[in-house]
Symmetry: C2
Amino acid sequence: MSPTIRDVAQKAGVSVATVSRVVNDRPGYSAETRNKVLRVIEELGYQPNALARGLVSKRSRTVGVLIPNISSMVASEMLKGIEDAAHTIGQSVIVCNTDNNGERTLEYLQVLKEKQVDGIIVVSAPITPLYHQKFGEMQVPVVLVSTRYHDGNLPFVKVDDEKAAYHATAYLIKKGHEEIGMIAGSKDDRIAGIPRVEGYRKALSDHGIPIRDQYITYGNFGFQSGMAGLERLLEAAPEITAIFCASDEMAAGALSLAHRRGIEIPDRLSLIGYDDSQLAEMTIPPLTTLRQPLCQMGQEGLTMLMAMIEEGKRTIHSKILPYTIVERETVRELR
Amino acid sequence: MSPTIRDVAQKAGVSVATVSRVVNDRPGYSAETRNKVLRVIEELGYQPNALARGLVSKRSRTVGVLIPNISSMVASEMLKGIEDAAHTIGQSVIVCNTDNNGERTLEYLQVLKEKQVDGIIVVSAPITPLYHQKFGEMQVPVVLVSTRYHDGNLPFVKVDDEKAAYHATAYLIKKGHEEIGMIAGSKDDRIAGIPRVEGYRKALSDHGIPIRDQYITYGNFGFQSGMAGLERLLEAAPEITAIFCASDEMAAGALSLAHRRGIEIPDRLSLIGYDDSQLAEMTIPPLTTLRQPLCQMGQEGLTMLMAMIEEGKRTIHSKILPYTIVERETVRELR
DNA sequence: CTGAAAGCGCTTACAG
DNA sequence: CTGAAAGCGCTTACAG
């Protein structure tokens, strides 16, 4: 058996209370006592039992993160940011891959509650009223990363998708493009779907460019849907000279289809992506894209969560993070 | 405050022991009692405190996984497999992103010990004797996924890298290639570096093809190193007609460089990758590659770990999983 | 079938 | 500066 606090107390000839004090850096012992205790801890290789600690202190030093797909390139980057920030302040993270499945999410919520997590982060998943209600019942701080809740108040950190999409589209316009298509995300996605389309539309109309429905096609952010998207666009609007893709993966799909069709990028068609995931620099040619600070979003999310935990606040100010455009080689200047 | 077992006992008019029994499905109560208790649990929304449970039962129902980089495409796939298997049997997973940093790894090991994890999985990281020693001290089952320990006995699940590399190389030979280069992984990596080179060499010599040192170049499994690798190979051995890349990412890098140099793939140069990560189907052209069952490796790893935990075994048989070749479009048949 | 009691390994008033 | 004691929320013999 591993040594317990009693073992070190006995061997050091002090009470368990004293050992607890030095372990937790609370005042109440002489330098001499401290050294003696520390020495014994060292000798015995004592490590406090976090379960016991958590049981009495009501702090498990663990947070839960709900994430639709751990192996998604963009989500995993955010998870990394969360884990990194958590580690530096001594919190552990339990990952929950929800697959965007409601039932599964609810199961995880229950587990996290039972495990007494100090807080929960949910990454880029739509929040339903039911989840929101559960959060309330659980009495646990929650922060949203790369998503938000429209029907109530839940702190979030994300970029402003509409503005970002506006910016990406305006960039294309600035490069001289006017026939600009869009391969959008899911049509009913209120987080990363609709707002990006809105931004695209607004950019066009602000620059006096007519909006044509046949210039917009919808995918699901994945590679295949990017291929299919370009295929439809080529059919419906061959005059297009540039496309704004709502994710790098879809842009990569478009790139592949373009290659297959012998369409040269960026010579005959310009493409701008969204995310700046690892993929962006691996495509041929390397993808110009709108960068979200993925890792930082995760870090900030965890920081906000800790603030809520420590200050006992039920809510806190949300954070909008800045995007940038990373210029690589898929956008051509039109003259 | 959330209701405790006492609250439900009181309200149901039974003892806490009885409540505990029905919650844990242990024998020792009438159907009537059971229903009453269940009803109260429902009413109160009682959820057992896992910390308290773990403290007495010595089972936290949590495992720790050490992983060099959560956002790596190959590692995250294995993590997903682990998480998935864990979820189905009611275990939680704490992720620890080690960055392949020794100090950080040791810190995590301590945290996991304190959190009383039931077991630990380490994913694709080299195991040092120091780690091995710590594992022993911790008295916790450990299984290795996509790595192994050469200086002692630690159960692992992986594919046979040497055989896999042999197979990939032999595939190229079967397609008529004889001038075959290799972009290898890290030169001193005893897991995914050296064995794959060995397999490559053996395949050549078994087929009567001379091994030339200038046909082999080393990278670090990453995209950039794949580009650099091809660049060196082109310089040192322009006569090469095919290359075996020790990772898909390096293959993607090679693809990019080839494109930049105007070298057509597979017409002038064939390429085979290793992993079959998500990337493989996104490259241009789609990458022929040696597939590791990444997700399954994670699942099996967790299954093995649970077997060790439940049977109290300190060790268990390792598992070698089968690879396959996924034929896409980067290898040309030479005639 | 059921309950009283001990105990898991800690922290935290309280008292001195 | 230090210790005895209660208590966190459970499970598990033990006794009936």
